[in-house]
Amino acid sequence: MRLIVPLRGVIQGRGGLFVGSLIPCCLFYFLQLYLKRRRPPPSDPTELPRTFSRTNLFSRGNSIGRVRVSSRAVPVAKPSDSPYYIGLERVKTDPYDRITNTDGIIQLGLAESTLCFDLLQRWMSENLMESMMQSDDGEFDISSIAMYKPFEGLLELRVAFADFMSRIMGGNVSFDPSNMVITAGGTPAIEVLAFCLADHGNAFLIPTPYYPGFDRDIKFRTGVELIPVHCRSSDNFTVTVSALEQALNQARKRGSKVSGILFSNPSNPVGNILSRETLCDILRFAQEKNIHVISDEIFAGSVYGDKEFVSMAEIAGSGEFDKTRVHIIYGLSKDLSIPGFRAGVIYSFHEDVVNAAKKLMRFSSVPVLVQRILISLLSDVRFIEGYMAAHRQRIRDKHIRFVEGLKQLGIPCAESGGGLYCWVDMSSLLTSYSEKGELELFEKLLTVAKINATPGTACYCIEPGWFRCCFTALADEDIPVIMERIRQLAESFRS
């Protein structure tokens, strides 16, 4: 404005100066007014003027805000920084095959067994069709497997599971089918229990080292925290009451509400079988503090050592404690090697938990046709007894070979009596006795020795250098290959 007036004055002289300056000022003023009216209101930035036609709206490119997902969804899609998942992904890029890819990465990071597939395959080829299409008159009737059935699982399946679980847990404990809910695998079983026993923001105490998958299973959607209770090699990584006490007190000081204790038995990744005394100690502690106990017994049938497996159900049923706080998770992915079928169990002594879990099964139930196969399989007592005996024997044999192979290299393992893995002390190979040193070793094992073993850090182990090695998908001839690779790696460190 100030620029225009003097210029006009200069050109037109004094009278014209006034008129000459007034007109552009007015025009300028009216132009500003006009533009102001045309601008959309600033209150809601996502509101677009309705004068745009539909096609215009859909083709406006980046002017529409990007729609967001919930804040709980944000961390889920991020690439995982846990070595547990990183290792599993890496194997997929270059998987070892003893014929077609002898230089590939050998998978020791997945706790699955293929040792008794031959037995299972034979049973399936002989019995699958019949067991799926069961009907009264022997005719194929699709409605028997097609229609809605109670989501918590057919009664016959719960009866079969109860019997099976009792059998594999030593026969000293019996399970009541009405306390049982069948789930689509162990993963939903643990999540549903977390939803039922703890509110968002509450916590479970969990002895370390623990199965890395629990972080996702519990934290993804329930909002429940996991508070580690550190265990040491001096106790063979067995949890103590004093450690539980300390962890609980610290949690309370921080303002965290602890709802329960979660642990696995046989333990994962160590492979410990918890003694009767330890189980009693845990339950006594839980009772004193008025919290729940969740015992993940998914490896109960994979016991190969001399130590006897005792289920928490047995302790709970002894009458000494309040059993309504005891809940057990089981599944067929490990003992029966059928993770693809998706069959798990929640067993609870608390009626309301069973009722709530039943209703929640609509989100993760087992298809009727799979239930029928499992009823057949689990009720075939002769097959099951033979299978479980072979399963335990073959794990034992493989365990002996694997541990011996490591021993030859001067690498010791923790004492274990169950599970599909061993807990290996590779601290002698560490360049520095620290988490950093362990992760470096993990990376070298993966890239140089081409072996995927899960480092203790991923399991929150407080002592560096421990690795979980799963050996139940290996053939005998794979073991010397593995040992040779480790030996060469160790040599390269020394030079």
């Binding site: 859909f58 997902v69 939803f195 709802s259 309504t324 090697s337 209703k359």
Partner: protein, 452 residues
């Protein structure tokens, strides 16, 4: 919601400790809704179920949307094809190994391809589906819940048009902590969603300080039994773009539309759009429970145009994986285009015929229904029979129908319908004979009413 402390109900407490252990809010809440009339009728049925020969005066279940009209087609197919082949996949018994171990949340590629192909066929090829955008879940119930976890935080809301499937109260809210704000629809325009109703629902949420994250519709609608018009879908997408929120379309009944040409999937609308920021707010839910009549198989899917949602849903699907056995068994059947084309066509015809039977039968008894063109049920208007035009009046009538006529139908109030007197009546979960018997009972009832 419920008390956190369960003092009285523990019946197995056999110790001397006075401390009763607490359960979570989720465990004690009644959001599962199983105490509502929708489910009370089921209990009555369970106690006295109709059977043609053994219990002809029992309760006829007309409250369960199950499709049994085309079982014979599935049976014939499964018997004809080598059963071993269809169980294991084309590899035969050696396929068992992969089957037993396979628990990858990506799902079997062949199965996803089969699902994509099946969904395309249902839409007459008017939309394409990318198998890599398909996330498998154990049923549509799980798919809807999973999407809700991903799109909304606790105390956020989804807008859902009324009347809606009673199960949504549980599926969308129970564990997720998300709220439902209704978009009110009424019979003045056949219960179609209007832009005014959308704005009003949005404003209601805003006034209560609730953040709206999306709109969830069912198309074809349950309980209306009618498809959503193309213009309404376009308006919906417009609205969602303007408010920058998601649009979820539960198309679980898409294969049950009587005339294929009358169904427009939101996928067709998205096909013509290039702008990713528009597309990526659209998500479709589907399942084999209604169209294929296989609810026992637990096969559902989330189809999302949003890469982030696909990735997240896939990881979260670990809690609700589809059994590898099921995937193998169905992959070959669903990719058999000759079979699926025939199945879809015949299934539609049979459902249409059932619909005509029931609507005609009701008309003869003096009862009108909403003009429907899809689904396994019709939306019946008994408003004129209500003594009191209130929700209580409606429930009284429902109770009479259950106790006197021994018919379990679903009252509109359980579907949050803002108009009283409407009822959902299922017709595909029984034989034609049974349907005729149900109609006879209704006729008798209406005759009696007319005489007084």
């Amino acid at each position: 919601m419920g008390l956190p402390l369960m003092m009285e109900r523990s019946s197995n407490n056999n110790n001397n400790n006075n401390n009763v252990v607490e359960l979570s809010r989720v465990a004690v809440s009644d959001t599962h809704g199983e105490d509502s009339p929708y489910f009370a009728g089921w209990k009555a049925y369970d106690e006295n179920p109709y059977d043609e020969s053994h219990n002809p005066s029992g309760v006829i279940q007309m409250g369960l949307a199950e499709n049994q009209v085309s079982f014979d087609l599935l049976e014939t197919y499964l018997e004809k094809k080598n059963p071993e082949g269809s169980m294991w996949g084309s590899k035969g018994a050696p396929g068992f190994r992969e089957n037993a171990l396979f628990q990858d949340y990506h799902g079997l590629k062949t199965f996803r391809q089969a699902m994509a192909s099946f969904m395309e066929q249902i839409r007459g090829g008017k939309a394409r589906f990318d198998p890599d955008r398909i996330v498998l879940t154990a049923g549509a119930t799980a798919a809807n819940e999973l999407l809700t976890f991903i799109l909304a935080d606790p105390n956020d809301a989804l807008l859902v048009p009324t009347p809606y499937y009673p199960g949504f109260d549980r599926d969308l809210r129970w564990r997720t902590g998300v709220k439902i704000v209704p978009i009110h629809c009424d019979s003045s325009n056949h219960f179609q969603i209007t832009p005014e109703a959308l704005e009003s629902a949005y404003q209601t949420a805003r006034d209560a300080n609730i953040r709206v994250r999306g709109v969830l519709i069912t198309n074809p609608s349950n309980p209306l039994g009618a498809t959503v018009q193309k213009k309404v879908l376009e308006d919906l997408l417009d609205f969602c773009v303007r408010k920058n929120i998601h649009l979820v379309s539960d198309e679980i009944y898409s294969g049950s539309v009587f005339h294929a040409s009358e169904f427009t999937s939101v996928a067709e609308i998205v096909e013509s759009i290039d702008d990713v920021s528009v597309k990526e707010r659209v998500h479709i839910v589907y399942s084999l429970s209604k169209d294929l009549g296989l609810p026992g198989f637990r096969v559902g899917t989330i189809y999302s145009y949003n890469d982030n949602v696909v990735r997240t849903a896939r990881r979260m699907s670990s809690f609700t994986l589809v059994s590898s056995q099921t995937q193998h068994m169905l992959a070959s059947m669903l990719s058999d285009e000759e079979f699926t084309e025939k199945y879809i066509r015949i299934n539609r015809e049979r459902l249409r015929r059932r619909y005509e039977i029931i609507v005609e039968g009701l008309k003869k008894a003096g009862i009108e229904c909403l003009k429907g063109n899809a689904g396994l049920f019709c939306w019946m208007n008994l408003g004129f029979l209500l003594e009191k035009k209130t929700k209580d009046g409606e429930l009284q009538l429902w109770d009479v129908i259950l106790k006197e006529l021994k018919l379990n139908i679903s009252p509109g109030s359980s579907c949050h319908c803002s108009e009283v007197g409407w009822f959902r009546v299922c017709f595909a979960n029984m034989s034609e004979n049974t349907l005729e018997i149900a109609l006879k009972r209704i006729h008798k009832f209406m005759d009696r009413r007319r005489r007084f």
